[in-house]
C-alpha cells in the first residue's frame, strides 16, 4: 500500500492506495486518513480484502486505540465492507455514515463500533481541534451520500465524484487533465443518476475554497485542475442508461 502525505500542519492528511496485492477483479480504491495528535479518522476504509493491508499501513502512523473514527461516504462494498473487521480490531471507535444507510451498512457487522448517523443535511466531525465539514452529495451516486471538506487544509474528499478507472500503479495526481477526462467520462455518465443533483452539488462546491479534490478511485486533482474538473463535470450529461 502506497502512502502519500497530502497535507501537513498541526495535523496530517494521508492518502493510501495503489495496493500491489489487490485481487485483479476488485476495483482499486483510495483511502484517506486524518491524523491529529491523539486521534485518527479513516475515510472510506475500503473493502474487506483491503482490511489487512490498510490497517497495517495505518499502524505506521497510529496505534489501534487512537483510530477513533471511521467515515463512510455511502454504503458500497468498496467503501465499507471491511467494517466487520474494523469492528473487532478497534476498541473505541465511531462510524460516521448516513442515517438512511444504517440498516444496510450494519449488515457488514457493527457491534462494538458506535454508528453515528449523519442527517441528510450533513454536519461536522470534530477531531480534537480539527473541524471537518460533512457536505451532502446525495444521488452522487448513492441516494444518501456525503463528502468531507476540510476548510483549513482545503481538501474536499469527494467519494465517487471525480473517480477514474486507472492502470495499476498510476500516479496519485492528475498531470494532464485533457488526457484524464477519458478515464472519467463513462464512470460519471453511467454511475451518476441525476443532472439536477449534479447541478446542486456543483453550485455548493464552487463556493468552497479547494486545493485538492480527492476522490475514492483514481487520481486527485490539485490547484487549477479542481476548477477544470468542475467545469467539465458541469457540462457533462449524466444518467445515460435510460
Amino acid at each position: 500500500m502506497k502512502m502519500t502525505k497530502i497535507y501537513e500542519g498541526s495535523y496530517q492528511w494521508l492518502m493510501f492506495g495503489r495496493d500491489d496485492n489487490k485481487p485483479e477483479k476488485i476495483i482499486d480504491t483510495n483511502q484517506y486518513v486524518v491524523r491529529t495528535g491523539s486521534r485518527c479518522l479513516v475515510i472510506d476504509p475500503g473493502g474487506v480484502e483491503l482490511f489487512a493491508p490498510m490497517l497495517a499501513a495505518v499502524l505506521h502512523h497510529a496505534p489501534v486505540e487512537e483510530i477513533t473514527d471511521l467515515f463512510a461516504s455511502h454504503q458500497d462494498p468498496d467503501i465499507i465492507s471491511s467494517l466487520g473487521l474494523w469492528d473487532q480490531a478497534l476498541p473505541n471507535a465511531k462510524l460516521h455514515a448516513s442515517g438512511l444507510w444504517e440498516g444496510f451498512i450494519r449488515h457488514f457487522g457493527c457491534e462494538t463500533i458506535e454508528y453515528v448517523p449523519i442527517q441528510d443535511n450533513g454536519g461536522v466531525i470534530n477531531l480534537e481541534r480539527v473541524e471537518l465539514q460533512v457536505i451532502p452529495a446525495h444521488y452522487m451516486h448513492a441516494s444518501a451520500n456525503f463528502n468531507i471538506y476540510d476548510p483549513n487544509a482545503k481538501i474536499l474528499m469527494s467519494g465517487d465524484i471525480g473517480a477514474a478507472l486507472e492502470e495499476p500503479g498510476a500516479p496519485v495526481f492528475v498531470d494532464n487533465f485533457d488526457e484524464h477526462v477519458e478515464k472519467m467520462r463513462f464512470f460519471h455518465q453511467r454511475w451518476m443518476p441525476s443532472n439536477q443533483a449534479k447541478r446542486f452539488w456543483i453550485d455548493r462546491v464552487r463556493d468552497l475554497d479547494i486545493d485538492i479534490l480527492a476522490p475514492q478511485h483514481g487520481r486527485m486533482f490539485k490547484g487549477d485542475d479542481v476548477k477544470r474538473f468542475l467545469d467539465w463535470f458541469d457540462a457533462l450529461q449524466v444518467g445515460i442508461a435510460v
Partner: protein, 204 residues
C-alpha cells in the same frame, strides 16, 4: 477452521433445519391420522373398543413429537447463529494475523496485540459453545426417537385391534399403516440429522 470445513458446517446446519421441518410435517400427519382413527373407532362402537384408547396414544405421541421438534428447532437456530459467529471470529483472527505479518516494522504494530488475543479467545469460545450445543442437540434428537419407536409399537397393536373390527377393518388398518410409515420417516430423518451433526463434531 479450514474453508471446506466452514462450508460443510453451514451446509450441515442448514440441512438439519430442513430435516426438522420434514419431521414436523410428518408429526402433524400423525396427529391428523389420530383424529381420523378416533372418528372411525367412534362409529365402529363396540367392535373397535380396543382401538379407542390407542387413538389417544397416537395423538399424544404426535403432540410430544411436535413439542420436541419445536424446541430442537430453537436449538438449531442457535446453532446456526453460532456457526455464523464462529465464521466471523475465524475470519477476523486470520485477518489480524495477516496484519501482524504486514507490520513488522510499523511503529505501532504492537498495539494490535490485545485485539488479536481477544479475537483468538472469542474464536475458541465460539468453538466451545458450538460443541456444547451440538451435544445438547444430539441428546434432544435421541429423545425424538422415543415417541417414534413407541409409535411403531402402537401401530402393531392397532393392527391387532383392527382385525376385530369387522367392516371397519380396512380403514383402521390404514390408520395403523400411516402411523407406522410416519414413525419410520421420523426415525430416518432424525437419524440423518444425527449423522450430519456428528460429522461436524468430529471434523476438527
Amino acid at each position: 477452521m479450514k474453508k471446506n470445513q466452514v462450508k460443510s458446517q453451514f451446509v450441515a446446519v442448514a440441512s438439519i433445519a430442513a430435516e426438522l421441518s420434514d419431521v414436523m410435517n410428518v408429526a402433524k400427519e400423525i396427529s391428523l391420522a389420530a383424529a381420523n382413527a378416533k372418528a372411525i373407532a367412534f362409529r365402529a362402537g363396540e367392535k373397535a373398543k380396543g382401538f379407542q384408547p390407542i387413538t389417544d396414544f397416537i395423538n399424544e405421541l404426535a403432540k410430544d413429537t411436535i413439542n420436541l421438534v419445536n424446541s430442537i428447532n430453537l436449538q438449531a437456530v442457535k446453532l446456526y447463529q453460532l456457526t455464523v459467529n464462529e465464521h466471523k471470529m475465524t475470519a477476523a483472527s486470520n485477518q489480524f494475523s495477516k496484519v501482524t505479518s504486514l507490520t513488522e516494522n510499523a511503529a505501532y504494530a504492537s498495539s494490535m496485540n490485545i485485539s488479536q488475543e481477544q479475537a483468538e479467545q472469542r474464536k475458541m469460545e465460539c468453538r466451545r459453545e458450538f460443541q456444547s450445543h451440538v451435544d445438547q442437540l444430539l441428546e434432544q434428537l435421541a429423545s425424538v426417537m422415543h415417541p417414534a419407536r413407541a409409535a411403531r409399537v402402537i401401530a402393531a397393536n392397532s393392527r391387532i385391534e383392527a382385525s376385530q373390527a369387522g367392516e371397519y377393518l380396512q380403514s383402521l388398518q390404514a390408520v395403523a399403516e400411516s402411523v407406522d410409515n410416519a414413525a419410520l420417516v421420523i426415525h430416518s430423518n432424525v437419524q440423518r440429522c444425527r449423522t450430519a451433526l456428528s460429522i461436524i463434531n468430529f471434523s476438527d
